[in-house]
Amino acid sequence: MAKNTYLPAPDHGAKTGVLAYLLTTAAVLLLMMVAGLLMRLEQAQMISIGANGFYQLMTVHGAGMVGIAGIAGAAIMWHFLNQYAALSVRVLVGNLALFVIGVAMVLGSVFVGNFHGAWTFLFPLPGNSLGLWSREAAAWFMGGMLVIGTGFLLLQLDIARAIIAGYGGFARALGWPQLFGRDDGQAPPPTVVASTMVTIVNLIALVVGASILAMMLVNLYHPEFAIDPLLAKAMIYFFGHVFINATIYMAVIAVYEILPRYTRRPWKSNKVFLASWTCSTLMVMFIFPHHLLMDFGFPKWMLVMGHVIGYLNTVPILAVTGYGALMIVFRSGIRWDMGSRLLFLSMFGWAAGAMPAFIDGTIRVNYVMHNTLWVPGHFHTYLLLGLVSMVFGFMYYLGKPARQARDPFIDRAAFWAYLVGSLGFVLAFLYAGKESVARRYAEHLPQWVPYDRVASYFAVLIIAATLVFVARFIGHLAHAGGHHTRATVPFGAVVA
C-alpha cells in the first residue's frame, strides 16, 4: 500500500525572511497580550486608565492581534509552501515592510491622534467621534489598515502566481481532478491544498476590505459620497471574518507538515480531505452573515444561510482535521516534546473553540448573546489555544537544536501554565457571556467584576508562559535556519 507509507521529509531551516516574521510575531504578540491584560485589569478595577485609554488599547489590541495572526500564519504557509512552489523572497519581505509601516500609522493614529473607533472601524463611527479624534486621525488609522492589507494582497498574489505556475491552476491545486474523478493518489499535498484555499478567500476578502476602506476614506473628506451603513458593515465583516479565519487555515499547515514527521505517518490529501477543504473554501466566505444576525433588515435568507453554515462548518474541523490529528497520534509512539505537544494542543483549541462559536451562530441564541463576552470567549479559545499554539509549536520545531534534544523543565512548566491560563481565561469570558456581560465595556457593573479579576490572574499566567516560549525561540534562533534533523526520523534510524 504505497498510499500509506510515510516518506521521511527533510526538516528545512527557515529563511531569514521567515525568521523576521516570527520575531515580529513574538514581539507584537507579547505587547498585545500585555495590552489585553491591562484591559482586563481595568475592567477588574485593579488599575485605572480610564475609558479613553481602555478603548485605545482595545483598538490597538484588536488591530494588532488580527494583523500579527496574519503575519504568523503567512510565515508558516510561506515556509512550507516554498518547498513545493518557488515563492518570491522580495515580496515576502515587502509585505513585512508594509506591515511595519501600517502598524506605525495605526499606532500614531491611536496614541497621538486619540483614535479609538475599534479595529472593525464600523461606518460611520470613524468619521463621527463627537470631537474626540480628528478626521486626520481616522484617516491615518484606515490608511494604515489599507497599507497592511495591500502588503498581504501582494503576498497572496505572489503565492497565487506560484501555485498556478506549479500546479496549473487553482482547481488542480485544490485537487479537484482527484476529488471529482478517480483518486490516483496524485493530489497536491495538504500544504498546497490549504494554501490555495487561503489564497482564494484572502484575495477576495482583501479586495473587499480595501474597497470599503477606500470608500470610507473618500467619505471622510467628501461626506456627499454617501455609504449605506448596512452595506459597509457587511463588507467589513466579510473581510474581517475571512481574514482572521484564514490565519488559522494557514497556521494549520504546521500541523499537517510537522506531526507526520514526529509520528512517521503520512497525512495525505485523500478524497475526504479534498472535499473538506473545498467545502471550507466556500463556507468561510458565505458564513459572514452570522455577524449580522441582529440586523433585522439584512436579507433573511442570508441570515438563515449564516446560521446553517455555522453548523456545517464544524464538520470539516471536527471530523476531518481534528480527527485526523487524533488518528495520526494514536498508537504512533510519537516523541512528545514542546513542538509536538503544542501542535497537538492547537488542534484541540481549534476544535473546542468551534463549539461555543457555532452555538452563538444560532439565530435564537445570538438574540440573547450577541456582543456579550461570549464572543471574545469563543474566538480567544481558537486563537489562543489554536492559532497561537500552532505558531509556538512551529517556533519550537524550528529552534530545536537536534532530534534528541530534550526540553528543559521550565519549558514544560510553561506549556502547562499556558494551557491552564488559556482555559481559565477563555472560560471566564464565556461564563461572563452567559451572565449577559456586554463586550467592549471599559467599565463593568459591580456584579461582573469578579469574573474580570479571575480572568486577569489567568492572563498573567498566559503571559508568563509566552515569555518562556519567546525567550527560548530567541535563544535558539541560531538553530532555526539550519537544515538539520529536528523531528524527522531518517531511514534506517533506530527510534529511541
Partner: protein
C-alpha cells in the same frame, strides 16, 4: 433560561472534544507499525461520528429556525393591541417614546439611530439579556417582544459607539395598567 442551556451545552461539547484528545494522547505511546488497519478502523468510526454529528447538530439547527426573532415572521403574542415604542440611539443616550410598558401585551420597538451604530439590548430586572436588535442610522428595525415579568428593565448599548458606550443606559418599567 437559554444562556444556561448554551453554557452547559458548550462545556459538554468542549469536554467531549477534550476526551477525544486525552484518549489519543494516552494511547500514543506504544507504536503500531502498520498504519493501514488502524486507518481503516478509524475511518469506520469516523463515518459513525459523522452521522452522530448530523443528528446531534442537525436537529437543533433546524428546530431553532422555527422561532426566529425577526419582526416579519414573529407573531404578536399576548392579549390586547400592540404597544408601539420608538427608540432612537444617540452618542451616548437613548430616546424612548414611552418608559412604561404593560405586561403581557405585545410590544413593538421601532429602533433606529441618530448618528452611529448602537445595539439595543434589553436587560431584565436580573440584568440578563432577553432581547436585542441593532440600532443603525437610516434603518428602522422592528423588535417584537411580550414582557411577562414585571419590574424595571434596562436598555444597554450592545454595539461599540465610542467613549461613553458603556454608559449608554436607559430604563423602562413593565407593570400592570395604572
Amino acid at each position: 433560561m437559554l444562556q444556561q442551556i448554551v453554557w452547559a451545552l458548550s462545556l459538554a461539547l468542549m469536554m467531549f472534544v477534550g476526551f477525544g484528545w486525552a484518549y489519543a494522547l494516552l494511547k500514543s505511546g506504544r507504536r503500531e507499525e502498520d498504519y493501514t488497519p488502524l486507518q481503516k478502523r478509524a475511518y469506520r468510526i469516523r463515518t459513525r461520528l459523522f452521522w452522530l454529528l448530523v443528528a446531534l447538530f442537525g436537529t437543533p439547527m433546524v428546530l431553532t429556525l422555527i422561532d426566529l426573532p425577526y419582526d416579519a415572521v414573529r407573531p404578536a403574542i399576548g392579549a390586547g393591541s400592540v404597544q408601539e415604542i420608538r427608540a432612537t440611539g444617540y452618542m451616548w443616550r437613548w430616546e424612548l417614546s414611552a418608559d412604561r410598558i404593560e405586561a403581557r401585551r405585545p410590544v413593538e420597538f421601532r429602533v433606529t439611530s441618530g448618528d452611529v451604530n448602537h445595539g439595543f439590548g434589553i436587560y431584565d430586572p436580573d440584568m440578563k439579556i432577553v432581547a436585542q436588535v441593532q440600532a443603525m442610522p437610516g434603518i428602522t428595525n422592528t423588535l417584537r417582544h411580550t414582557f411577562d415579568r414585571e419590574g424595571v428593565y434596562k436598555i444597554m448599548c450592545l454595539e461599540y459607539c465610542g467613549l461613553a458606550h458603556h454608559n449608554m443606559v436607559a430604563e423602562f418599567t413593565v407593570g400592570t395598567r395604572s
